[in-house]
Symmetry: C2
């Protein structure tokens, strides 16, 4: 039995970093990670072949463009699951704070790579 | 590739039910469920032998009593992972809205059973 984690105060965690598109792991359970990300502008189009990706908007608004499907508009308190294999592009006109829920080890740019590829780190 | 789910607006979902301690599944990803629960009063002491349970407070305040450890106080925007095997008792003096993140199939009362055991349903 692992030690109980201390409570994770999301606002305190967000106050500890400024980078955009750089996920910070704040909790782990059953091999999943909860990651916090500040986003601004257009991310790269990408997909995750084997992983459904949960976007949870904490503050601000986020657009998720989807290949061959209508884009999705999300505000604070909205959750959206991008199914595995579906190319998507997150876009935020103003800074937006989101949480991602996904299995440990998922790379933010999926199979696309590029300069926005981030190395996840614990916060 | 599954159809993309529609966005889940948490506030709209919470407006659709009143029961306490009755988890409603609102999203699924990678075999995990996101469940919404309204809680009030003392839940039963219980544990989940093989599952870490993520509590995410959406609105209100929640106390989680832990066996042989200090209790944890959570407010809106706080996340806490109860590790597998650790007996715990959620308590809310006033109605509190929470999300649970856990593998599909987890029973709310763990191995304790009793009248508060709920059959999860999709909302």
């Amino acid at each position: 039995m692992a030690e109980p984690a201390t409570p994770v105060r999301l606002n305190e965690k967000f106050a500890q970093f400024d980078e955009h598109w750089s996920p910070k792991i704040v909790a782990e359970a059953n091999g999943w990670h909860i990651k916090l990300v500040k986003v601004l502008g257009e991310f790269v189009w990408h997909s995750h072949a084997d992983v459904d990706e949960v976007f949870w908007v904490i503050d601000g608004t986020l657009t998720i463009r989807l290949q061959d499907r209508p884009e999705v508009q999300l505000a604070a308190g909205d959750v959206f699951v991008v199914p595995r294999g579906l190319p998507h592009q997150p876009v935020a006109e103003q800074e937006c704070r989101i949480a991602l829920l996904e299995p440990a080890g998922v790379v933010n740019t999926g199979g696309s790579g590029g300069e926005l590829t981030a190395k996840d780190s614990w916060l």
